[in-house]
């Protein structure tokens, strides 16, 4: 059992506007709420997925609107409860997986005596236990991404933000990763940005669709599938729903 919370939603954004640089508005007036579960963040390239995730990770300051995470106004204590895997995450090539995750645990202020066990647990959950003491430069791209997932979950986050976590994973690893997502989603609010519609259909309890910085749709994968008809492009119901909702007059270009 988990303790009752003092907030209604893990993530609550109201009219959120986030700018990239001075001029470009990447997230434009998004209002959404997210609770526990796995939330798939879908949208075409340049829709503002990464910017929204960065704002949720508190590394970008919103230009206007309100963003409330875990009902916690204090940035430092809030960040201890967040896990974040950026899209392009750099790493220290000379570190071993264990040293890397350990260093991230230190940065996340995991209490010192708990660090070794927390690191071992995170590395095991990410499926890297047998390579834990290999240097990152000797690992393949998919393994490095799993090391990234391990560092994101090392502090047992209540809000877990994963930006394109399945990029670079082979099909078998993607299946394992979906299981891990489902498991994590039972007691945390997991936000996964992806452009793979099948990931959403398989592992997400909730779908958020962004286009050009605006919220187009929020609902269950079944509702997304219901939005599409046979006339829309796509191989699966959920893909047809995706193209139906995105086929608005604001779409430009041939892609």
């Amino acid at each position: 059992m988990t303790a009752p919370t003092t907030y209604a939603w893990e993530i609550e954004a109201r009219d959120l506007v986030v700018k990239v640089g001075r001029r470009r508005t990447a997230v434009d007036g998004v209002t959404l709420t997210m609770g526990r579960g796995v939330h798939g963040l879908l949208g075409p390239n340049g829709a503002g997925k990464t910017t929204l995730i960065r704002a949720l990770a508190t590394v970008l300051r919103p230009a206007s609107g309100t963003l409330s995470l875990l009902g916690d106004p204090d940035l430092r204590s809030l960040r201890r409860r967040i896990g974040y895997l950026p899209q392009e995450f750099g790493h220290y090539r000379r570190f071993t997986v264990r040293e890397f995750v350990e260093y991230m645990a230190w940065l996340k202020e995991v209490p010192g005596p708990e660090i070794p066990a927390a690191v071992q647990r995170a590395v095991e959950r990410a499926g890297l236990a047998d390579r834990a003491d290999d240097r990152l430069k000797t690992l393949s791209g998919g393994m490095v991404r799993r090391a990234g997932i391990a560092q994101a979950i090392v502090n047992d986050p209540e809000v877990l933000l994963l930006d394109e976590p399945t990029a670079g994973l082979d099909p078998a690893q993607r299946l394992r990763f979906r299981d891990l997502l489902t498991e994590l989603g039972t007691d945390a609010c997991v936000v996964v940005s992806t452009h793979l519609v099948e990931d959403v259909a398989a592992a997400c309890t909730d779908v958020v669709l962004l286009a050009e910085g605006r919220l187009v749709f929020q609902g269950t994968p079944a509702q997304l599938a219901a939005a599409g008809t046979a006339g829309h492009a796509g191989d699966s119901p959920i893909e047809r729903g995706y193209s139906a909702l995105l086929a608005s007059p604001r779409q430009r270009g041939t892609w």
Partner: protein, 263 residues
Amino acid sequence: MTAHHPAEQLLRRYARGAQDLPADQLWAVESHLETCAPCRGRLAPDPVADAAWAQLAPLLDHTPQMPRARMWRRRLTTWTSPVAGPWLAMIMLVTLASVLLDQLGAASPDDISLVLLIAPVLPVLGVAAAWGRALDPAYELVAATPRAGLPLVLRRTAGVLVVVLPGLAVAGWLTGASPAQWLLPCLAFTTGTLALGGLIGVTRAATALVVLWAAVIAAPTVALSRTPVLDPAVTPVWVAVLALGLLLIALRRTAFTRLEAHR
């Protein structure tokens, strides 16, 4: 409580966790075991522990059992950026080279100390290595952690100064430069990098200050064979710059918790 103890066969199937055990029997065995210590005793030494061990043993062979990570690296990375090593080594080499050049050119009439000339710019490079996006591949990961922010920046800056200052102290002593001449510009440029870094990002701030150093300190020295801004008479100016830098850092201290300060 009840005289009806479960049969050996049933208890074994329960212990194995057999899936085909009917729910009513399972429930009956479970509730009986809760109250009957002798039956729990019958259950305990049985295959449960052996089965668990049989599953664990092969895993234990290829799972490393928490070897200790290298302690020195763990200690070091709490004070410096994990990628700053080569930069700190380069700073030491530059200091050494300037001392050597000073010693070689000591006989020449226009005695401009190279150590004095490079003292302001060395820590700028070090701070850029400590908090710059260009040099730290994991900047985005670091920026999102609770420890990111002014305390960590100052920690890493202290790590840089621990390397730079003793090096300059030895160099200054060897070349006969007074500490006031090199220490103040050095500290002023360090705080300047951080203060400006809070506004426009550490990498850009470092670039700007290196350009400023080249224009105000290096160029006049080469052109006039004098170091006007490193004269002891301008010490109050350096003190003022240092104080202004500290004030700006204090005012902009939250900037380092965001991605912008890494630019």
